[in-house]
Symmetry: C2
Subunit: 199 residues, 2 copies
DNA sequence: ATTTTTAATTGACCGTGGTCATTTTTTGGC
DNA sequence: GCCAAAAAATGACCACGGTCAATTAAAAAT
């Protein structure tokens, strides 16, 4: 079937929606994001919103994905960690963003694993790129620093699992003042480091 | 401040709500659960529902938590796995339930880490019990089967992280027919088993 | 230039989760 | 048994996400 490229009016409308939403989030946070406010600010009808985004969550996923891309690029440009304990600090900005807010974290979880279904989801693509980056980090480290008995890709995926774990734990213990990075550290040491007995 | 125990009418009403909800879920699944249907079936007003459950998600969390408790008890009664590869099959029922449905998985994630905040959440308590069980499993295995350079509790928490990871991956690849247990296996081998070089 | 076809937008409308002032029921003191 | 106070239940009401037939604007065909 025929698929025509979107005309420029549509692209402009979409951008207005995104801008309006970004402003609201910047002013009042994700929890306060309301579709009605977005369309009011963007000066379009409600129906237009839903012709551009499948639902409110997709818009949030887009905004969050955008920001995560920015952060990941920044991380990728910084020097790679050269010890296992260097991973935590390197990952700090990413974890800080994902864990800033329950809404953000939930959206991330929900759309992080949509890769195979729709490549439109920024978060999903971002998660794959994260794994790739982690894998390169793991691979460039000497075998006496990072274990070499396990595939770098698997190690990288495991890092991601532990990041999620650390952030999730962060939410359940708001009184506890342990930092996310400190939560992550013991997992990564156990996951990545060469066991003493094997050194 | 004074807090009186609930009168038995209240307890009965609550049970009617739970029963009604359970029936609907059994008949049509979690995705079809509607508060209005629950109160209609339980023959109570809508407001009553919300005096018993903070929101719809809490009701679902309760139902899911109940079922997870049942499954966990069953798992705890079965013989503990005696190899690393035995963990997957032992965890099968639990993973199957959590991954049956996106709604269920989302609720589990959302309420699994609420322990420190409210002990009312079954799922949260269940998650802690899971970790305890996993820790005993790990501890009773010989040091040549499971690594002993890492605390059993940390290993147990890691298992949980990988379970979540495996289920999450399951959702993003519905076309792919790899089983959850098979997804989990490589992680657990790398996480729990003694590296060859150290044997 | 005019008509036809397709894309984009509109806004009244709906479904469903959640609130709260009011009413009914239960309890405990007399 | 009667009455005041606390607990439980009620249902009209609201908020907000999401739908869709109808309208308008743009592009293609004539």
């Amino acid at each position: 079937m025929e698929t025509r490229p979107p005309q420029k009016r549509r692209i402009a409308t979409r951008q207005r929606l995104i801008d309006a939403a970004s402003e609201i989030v910047a002013e009042s946070g994700f929890a306060a994001l309301r579709v009605e406010d977005v369309v009011a600010r963007a000066k379009v009808a409600k129906g237009t919103f839903f012709s551009h985004f499948e639902d409110k969550d997709r818009l949030m996923a887009f905004l969050i994905g955008q920001e995560m891309d920015r952060i990941l690029k920044q991380i990728a440009q910084a020097p790679a960690p050269d010890t296992v304990d260097g991973f935590g600090p390197a990952l700090g900005p990413l974890m800080g963003y994902m864990g800033q807010n329950r809404v953000v974290f939930d959206v991330v979880i929900r759309f992080s694993g949509a890769a195979a279904i729709e490549t439109t989801e920024l978060i999903s693509v971002n998660f794959m790129e994260q794994v790739m980056l982690f894998a390169t980090w793991v691979e460039r480290l000497q075998p006496h620093i990072v274990r070499s008995d396990v595939d770098a890709m698997l190690l990288a995926e495991g890092i991601q699992a532990f990041i999620i774990q650390a952030i999730a734990l962060e939410f359940c213990a708001l009184h506890n003042s342990v930092d996310v990075q400190d939560r992550l550290a013991p997992y990564l040491r156990a996951w990545l480091a060469v066991p003493r007995s094997a050194q």
